[in-house]
């Protein structure tokens, strides 16, 4: 199966300023593909080049079989865009916005259903300016879906949403994918990328530094786990002899064992074997945040 998106060595400059230097990745059909990176790392520029909204200066791009530089018009009819920065006329009503953008599709679409799914039905007569930030954001996502796209770009879509709305949005994004569309999700939230994305491209300083599944990234870049417990036993050298263990640190009664692989199971077995059964034994596995810190070198 040919990928939905193929990017090779994308490059984009604003004047003499290089915003994207070397970005390559492929996105398969039906994926939720994350683009994760610090602010200013070139995420928005990358996806706007893919949507044909900006002109790439170098590299090879193919989106749904179209070259965004030459076939932007045809491409845009097949994709949905939620832009990081855009607006609607202040006095435009929610229902008018949805019906107008829906009418741009040759077939016309069922915008009322999209409006309900995204919790905008009771705001249908409200003007854009009167909506809260979160409601405006949901309206933009709804507008991105109203042409029944095959590929949806969501650029920082949960920025401005409260935690409850974010969870709702995540469910809806999964539903977009379950409906058959491919999703490219730009975000700087680790938990969002980890929870939602099938695969993630980590961008730092204008280039892709890693592409993998969330667990793949963690296994590669932050394989360490930490097992922690409390004990009065002072001699723990038996733990240090385990292959899985890299280091044992203690401060007072609190012990933390750093290592990798099946660390928890081995440490637990060894402790029990030595007659120790701490009740607060727990493992702290690395998450995407640690991967991110590992990969993104820049000082914030």
């Amino acid at each position: 199966m040919t990928p939905v998106v193929e990017v090779e060595h994308l490059e984009k400059r604003y004047g003499s300023f290089v915003a994207v230097e070397d970005v390559s990745f492929t996105v398969d059909a039906g994926e939720i593909f994350g683009i994760l990176g610090p602010n200013g790392s070139g995420k928005t520029t990358t996806v706007e080049c893919l949507q044909g909204l900006r002109r790439a200066d170098g590299g090879r791009l193919s989106v749904l079989g179209h070259d965004p530089r030459r076939e932007a018009e045809r491409l845009r009819r097949r994709i949905g865009s939620q832009l990081q920065e855009s607006a609607l006329p202040e006095r435009l009503k929610v229902s008018e916005a949805l019906s107008f953008f829906s009418s741009l599709s040759p077939s016309g679409t069922d915008w009322e259903t999209v409006m309900e799914q995204w919790g905008l039905a009771e705001k249908r007569s409200a003007t854009f300016a009167s909506l809260s930030g979160g409601q405006q954001q949901r309206l933009f996502v709804a507008l991105a879906l109203v042409n029944e796209p095959e590929l949806v770009f969501l650029d920082e879509m949960t920025t401005g949403l409260d935690p409850a709305s974010r969870r709702v949005a995540w469910d809806l994004i999964r539903r977009i994918r379950d409906g058959g569309a491919t999703v490219i999700l730009v975000t700087h939230f680790m938990d969002e990328a980890e929870n939602l994305c099938d695969r993630i491209a980590v961008i730092d300083d204008k280039r892709v530094v890693a592409v993998d599944t969330p667990t793949g990234l963690i296994d590669t870049y932050a394989p360490d786990a930490v097992v922690a417990f409390s004990t009065d036993e002072t001699d723990l050298t038996f733990l240090e002899r385990l292959d899985e263990v890299d280091a044992v640190e203690r401060s007072g009664r609190h012990v933390s064992v750093t290592g990798s692989g099946a660390l928890l199971a081995m440490v637990a077995a060894e402790l029990v074997g030595h007659g120790l059964a701490p009740t607060d034994l727990r493992v702290e596995r690395a998450d995407l945040e640690d991967v991110f810190l590992q990969l993104t070198t820049r000082e914030q």
Binding site: Q51, L53, E73, R76, R77, S81, L83, E85, S86, A87, L88, P89, R91, L92, E96, F100, F101, S103, L104, T127, F140, L143, N147
Partner: protein, 249 residues
């Protein structure tokens, strides 16, 4: 219904939701008629005086001139601010991402300008007919044709301003300056014959003066002069440069 029609309809509805703008737009032709008319144009010209107003009565001169002036007001003050504001806020970018073409965006500005100009013009004519005595048009069809010509030409000029100027504030400021310059040096204020030297040169440079002459030619049944060509040239150049400078963001 095509995108242009839909977008135009949307823009008209949005316009009607701005009460201040609506009131201003409706008041403007009356202000022009009664304030400007009061200052410059109430006196009928008497035989033996210096030849002013292209040799016709003051109100015969001013009524068609004011038609061009209301068109200029809409196109030079509203269109650029609206267009630049929509770009500045990211509305145009949103349209672009959803395949709304540049022609639809520009076309909707023209349609809205045409509707507003027509309403203003009708208001102005009705008010003028109630208060002043002036010649009826030589050819109603000619007047309508001239009005459409002037509106489309000025709308192109307004779109050029809206494309070149980066922000709504800049567009508003520049639009105002151009409008006031045209008001005083464009033939719809002081009669052109009293303008001397540099002011006379300015007169020939203002798009308004050529639009004024176009409307007067059709209204008064004068021989069409060079102004038609000049104004068409301004329109074509504006449209071309407007396309060149048009930006979505």
């Amino acid at each position: 219904m095509g995108t242009l029609a839909r977008l135009s309809w949307l823009e008209l509805k949005l316009f009607l939701r701005e009460p201040l703008t609506v009131v201003f737009s409706l008041a403007l032709p009356l202000i022009i008629l009664f304030v400007l008319g009061g200052v410059f144009g109430n006196e009928p010209s008497r035989p033996g005086e210096q030849l002013v107003y292209r040799g016709v009565g003051a109100m015969d001169y001013y009524v068609p001139a004011y038609l061009s002036l209301v068109v200029a007001s809409v196109c030079v003050m509203s269109i650029p601010t609206h267009l630049a504001g929509n770009r500045e806020r990211g509305v145009l970018k949103r349209f672009h991402a959803s395949s709304v073409g540049a022609l639809a965006v520009a076309g909707a500005e023209v349609v809205v300008a045409f509707v507003l100009s027509t309403v203003s013009a009708v208001l102005l004519l009705v008010a003028a007919a109630l208060v002043y005595d002036f010649d009826r048009p030589d050819s109603v069809l000619g007047v309508i044709g001239g009005f459409v010509f002037v509106t489309v030409g000025f709308a192109a000029f307004g779109i050029l301003l809206g494309s070149v100027l980066p922000t709504a504030r800049a567009a508003q400021a520049v639009g105002m300056v151009i409008w006031f310059v045209m008001l005083f040096l464009g033939g719809a204020g002081p009669p052109p014959e009293v303008l001397t030297g540099a002011m006379q040169t300015m007169l020939d440079l203002t798009p308004l003066w050529h639009a004024v002459k176009v409307m007067q030619d059709v209204w008064l049944g004068l021989d069409p002069g060079l102004s038609w060509l000049v104004f068409a040239g301004i329109a074509v150049v504006s449209a071309t440069l407007g396309v060149y400078f048009f930006r979505w963001e």
